[in-house]
Amino acid sequence: MNNKLVTMAPWLAYFLIFGSLVFAGGDHTIHIASQVIILGLFAIAFNVLFGTTGLLSFGQAIFYGLGAYITGMMAKSFGGDFFVWALLIAPVAAITLSVLLGALSLRLSDVYFTMLTLAFAQLVWGICVKWSSFTGGDDGIQAIPKPELLAGGLNYYIFSFIIVTVCIYLLWRLDRSPFGAVLKGIRQNPTRISFIGLNVFRHKLLAYMISSGFTAVAGGLYAGIDKSIHPDMFVWTMSGSIILMTILGGMRSFFGPLIGVAIFILLEDVIGRSTQYWSFVIGAIMITVVLLFPKGVVGISRHFAGLFAKKGGQLDNP
């Protein structure tokens, strides 16, 4: 019972915080909250690769941008009512592409994998910018139509909240599933995984497909926030920011990436506006986190929780 409460507590906090915003949030807050949950989904999906499987991909922005462009371009061509359908097509397309890219990059290990994903991302970004007749080039795509019902900021937030929650729930199930256990095993000891009869590559590929699919949903949802998308969604610093947010929150915890996203976006809202050297700030945060707090915010709070728990234990058994 107590155990159940512990596992459910993050969910409770999640619903309390993001649910209450529906009633309490002003326009600006809702805008920020939309970004947090959508990027939160991106980060949690990314962490299936990074924190869980130990694969540092620097190219997940490919699938984020792809989701956004598929949704945006389809809605633009076929009308606002198609927006929601496009959100379903986006992950299918992303998963298809991920099979191809994964088959090439997952054969490589460590640095090679990371760099190949980065190179793919730059390639896709380059194509997006250069193929301007199709993608709108540097300008991106503006005035993406949405269904009547999702027009207002609040309505769109509620819509995104529902979809993101379903996705996060599925990823949460994955984290606790046999498949999730195999992925954690791959991170810790891939050799042992093959010697319990499992194919490392196939499990990695499936993880990559799943992560990419959910990332595309996040990208698609993003297309509806400001109704505009741009090639920057593909660019490598997008992947870089997601990585930073993930370790900032805590890559060893399921909800850590979401916490990292929230902190990052709030900071950006406060500091990012007042300085043109925001990258510098990000870099400084990143160095601090990597050197001093590699387990992120969740790691720090667990550390303190552990201290208290130990004290409590001593009281119980003198």
Binding site: F50, G54, L56, F58, L104, R107, L108, D110, V111, Y112, T114, M115, L116, L118, A119, F120, Q122, L123, G126, I127, K130, T191, W236, G240, I243, L244, I247, Q276, Y277, S279, F280, I282, G283, A284, M286, I287, V290, L291, P294
Partner: protein
């Protein structure tokens, strides 16, 4: 394509290749010896260009600029190695953290140059002695390009000489394969690592200074350069010096001729080459299929 165009594109490609090699060989050296993937290597190219710009503004001499670029970038490189990179050595998932740490350097160095020199791009001109061009019958080649090719060759040969013919080189190579053993022989391994870092980043900085008259100096160039060098080292095989040379030549020429063939898409050709290589040789063109990790 006429023969004249062919030759002039070829030499153009060669000079690009040499600049690329200067950066990529440093990247591959750091990886091969210190086992660090320096994601920020392109940023040393960028700060090298800025240092040279600054020195030329002060002393009005191209060569002082080149020296300032190499020394400045090398010092910054050693400093970052000593203050940060060294401190995460041996940590679980060190590779990922190295990439993140050096990624942070990119962001910081980009903003630092913006802060110091402003967001607008800068240019410097070729030294007067090399500003002209040389005629070879019907073909005219800028002297500066020939100079870069010669400089590149000099550096290739001297790097080869140091690494394979001197005691220093032997220590460096030994330090990369058997850190403990070399440490016991009384060599200060961490000093060797810092020096390798310094030399490699100095080469990057020098490349930035040499490229500056041909391109522009701007914040963010580090990223373009690292992507290109990355392609080179991945094709050549990380840690493989000669592989990097070959791959730099390949990419340099592919770009030089690609631009004639399909101008709009030329910048994406390098990626295509890399992907083709990786499909057939996942660890680079010159990898020998290494045995699996010992268990």
């Amino acid at each position: 394509m006429s023969f004249e165009i062919f030759i002039s594109q070829f030499f153009g490609g060669l000079s690009v290749a040499m600049l690329l090699f200067l950066v990529a060989s440093g990247l591959t050296l750091i990886f091969g010896v210190a086992k660090v993937f320096n994601f920020a290597h392109g940023s040393f190219y960028m700060i090298g260009a800025y240092f040279s710009y600054q020195a030329i503004a002060l002393f009005d001499n191209f060569w002082i600029g080149a020296v300032a670029a190499a020394l400045g970038a090398g010092l910054v490189g050693m400093l970052l190695e000593i203050c940060f990179i060294r401190r995460i050595a041996g940590r679980e998932e060190e590779g990922a953290f190295q990439i993140l740490l050096t990624y942070a350097f990119i962001l910081i160095l980009d903003d630092a140059v913006k802060f110091i020199w402003g967001p607008a791009y800068k240019t410097i001109s070729k030294p007067e002695s090399l500003a002209g061009s040389m005629d070879f019958g019907a073909v005219t080649i800028p002297t500066y390009n020939l100079f870069i090719i010669v400089l590149g060759l000099v550096i290739v040969v001297s790097a080869w000489y140091v690494l394979s013919r001197t005691k220093t080189g032997k220590i460096i190579l030994a330090a990369s394969t058997d850190t403990q053993m070399v440490g016991m022989l009384g060599v200060n391994v961490s000093l060797v690592m810092s020096l390798v870092f310094g030399v490699a980043t100095a080469m990057g900085g020098l490349a930035g200074a040499m490229a500056a008259p041909l391109r522009t100096i701007a914040p963010g160039t580090g990223v373009e350069v690292i992507i290109d060098s990355l392609i080179v080292v991945v094709i050549g095989g990380l840690g493989n010096f000669w592989g990097a040379l070959f791959a730099a030549l390949l990419i340099g020429e592919v770009n030089a001729f690609g631009i004639l063939w399909m101008p709009q898409w030329a910048s994406l050709l390098s990626f295509a080459v890399m992907i083709v290589v990786l499909i057939f040789k996942p660890k680079g063109l010159f990898s020998r299929e290494k045995g699996r990790k010992k268990i």
